[in-house]
Amino acid sequence: MPLLEVSGLTKHFPEPRGFAFWRTAGAVRAVDDVSFAIDEGSTFGLVGESGCGKTTLSRLILLLQQPTSGTIRFAGRDVATLRDPRTEYRRVVQAVFQDPYSSLNPRMTIGDLIAEPLIVHRVLAGQAAQRRVAELLEFVGLNPDTRKRYPHEFSGGQRQRVAIARALAVGPKFVVFDEPVSALDVSIRAQILNLLVNIQREFKLTYLLIAHDLAVVEHVSEICGVMYLGKMMEICPSVELARKSMHPYTQALIASVPVADPDVPEPEIVTGEAPSPLHPPPGCRFHTRCRFTVPLCRTQEPPLREVEARHWVACHLAGQVGTAPTQTAPSA
């Protein structure tokens, strides 16, 4: 049973016309009719380039923004019907953000930072809270004695561990990770990704992992979704991402990722840039850069349909055009 179910989720940001900000010229369709579900205990990886709407989607799920339309169901309940102030939802749904330099208050000690959600949500207080902080620090791989120190005394990787401990403090069921490792050094990334997997097993958590790095998403998630200009283009099991992706955009994205092997020949790369989300092209949003465009793509928007079992693709030609990307990483 899915823990989180998103259907037809849409968020439009009105674009003001000139100085008269109450008159709108159009709307940035940041998230446009997106549907997917995340099973309990699994990880859904969301990939896409900047401006594709992946962060807006996460903000909608975190109830930091009101959707224009569509529903979010969490544990079977529509979150729009939750009674304000929605404290319970905000306890069980936690988030870890990209930049651990700006997500931790520099004037609070590590211990206070981790204890803060415990106190806000009235989970624990006093000595019990302090014991919990020590446990959490130990669990994320930091010395409990560091609780009296301040964020600036820690490296990026250690700060991200603090941010993770803070998210875990109140016993969440669902955690949104928005680019959790992209600000970290290469040798630290693997440490944090392994920690995320350990935590998931230990606490039986469900994850939404947002990343632009396809390899990261492939490694950590079971199912992944690819977004482009506010639309979900493909959803497939992560093991199929590299070799069996069907959407030309996913394939272009994979071909663009440089492989750490000098013997892999340079693949054909996608030309042009993503159009403005203010004026997305009619029909399929990727048709302006797609190698396989046919007249139908210019006029009719392809729906996201299940082409194979557990593999959804929003492309008129799915299953017909070359399913194998031009470049596949050699297996070690």
Binding site: S187, Q191, L214, I254, S256, I269, V270
Partner: protein
Amino acid sequence: MSANAMEIRDPPGPPQTAPTATEPLLAVAGLRTHFFTRYGIIRAVDGVTFNVGEGEIVGLVGESGSGKTMTSLSILRLVPLPAGRIVAGSIRFRGRDLLQLSEAEMRAVRGKQISMILQDPLTSLNPVYTIGNQVAESFLFHRDPATTRRDIASRVIEVLRRVRIPAAERLVRAYPHQFSGGMRQRVCAAIAIASRPALLIADEPTTALDVTIQAQFLQLLKRLRSEANLSIIYITHDLGVVARLCTRVIVMYAGRVIESGPVRAIYKSPGHPYTRALMKSVPRLGDRHERLFQIDGQPPYLMNMPPGCAFRPRCPNAQAICGQELPPDMPLGEGHAAACWFAGPRPAAGREGA
């Protein structure tokens, strides 16, 4: 003339006006750039030696704080003052030691013969000047007196075309905010190559770009290199980019070069335990594992460097000697060397999972 000055400084050796066939375009030797702070000396670059040949793309790889950016700023003599100082070493470029030049002579090198592209194209462009204006600046600064305004205008358009900016005639009047990230980085590349430099230093130029745009930019760099016989020092931490672009690789760790060699040798038979661990810890598409290979610990704090090898605290093969003496460069093959007492094929440092 500078050629005469050089001969006075280097009386022995063959008389030379241009670099000889044996001398590389750039030869950095024993470079040390230190920062003198209230709390102690930070050895950001500590004895770095490497060469860049003509038409080569050399990848300078390392994590943050490994000294790769400070090495490149030292080459341009742009080390932040007053704390930073180049305390030892030589940087020979086209037969002259850049560290011996006067500031005026250096200004003729900087931006003219050696130029640079930085990571963030938005902050490296001036928002209040047009693109054309900013590209023209390079021509105006290094101008020979015969050039006219019209010459410069046509050269600006020509150089924008070389970096594949569409409708260059029209876009010279545009401002940076009207460009996308990828296009802005192309403008930065245009400024860098405008004066037809021999060496281009690119410091993480694609880190801020999307992957599809990054792929396009890497293709552009490769084309510029073959069109203009440009040598490039490409600074990055992305091993995929290096494999796709570079001919040679220099791996830095804690201010020192720990391994260098041809790109194939580094990827196929890395000699230093750090290089091996780095190669293994990068998740690769299409090669899904339950756990990622991880390197434990963290890079050392440059103020309190451990004696001996800087990687010793994280290295699984460390022996007593590693903590006592700095390892020498062990030759491993044609132009391939690693600074490790036990360089050679051994298990990588780190472990499977946690």
